[in-house]
Symmetry: C2
Subunit: 83 residues, 2 copies
């Protein structure tokens, strides 16, 4: 398992309720691909949403987001981290 950060755009004005709804669609099917979403952050001003996940590979994250209706191609594997 590796960690991934992915970035969504075009979410200007997103609020907590909308983010929660979108995130639920991901977490409801994440097990099917062995993905676990760990954290989500949103910037309603720029419309960017950032997801941190653990997954077997980048394509698994891509497929979960796509099936959930939250498609993005911008997914980075982040094997190095500092807490």
């Amino acid at each position: 398992m590796s960690k991934f950060i992915d970035i969504h755009t075009g979410m200007k004005g997103i609020d907590k309720a909308k983010l929660t709804d979108a995130h639920k669609k991901d977490t409801q099917i994440e097990n099917s691909e062995g993905v676990k979403f760990l954290h989500v952050w949103a910037d309603p001003s720029s419309g960017k949403v950032f997801c941190l996940s653990e997954a077997p590979n980048k394509d698994a994250v891509l497929r979960v987001h796509k099936k959930a209706g939250n498609a993005t191609e911008e997914i980075y594997e982040v094997p190095i981290e500092i807490e």
Copy 2:
């Protein structure tokens, strides 16, 4: 205090030691601007580095990174999050 995610580019091939060195330069001066870096993730393949911080505002994050030699203009305030 708000949370921020900033993105650095051009760090292809970065390893844990180099990331630790760069991060230390930030944390050594973060107090001067009331910033606290919480987590850093790096993707050596794309050269992207992501920092999560708490700060009074975006400019404070920008100034700490600039003074530390880790300048980036790509800083997003992320007031909405899901754990």
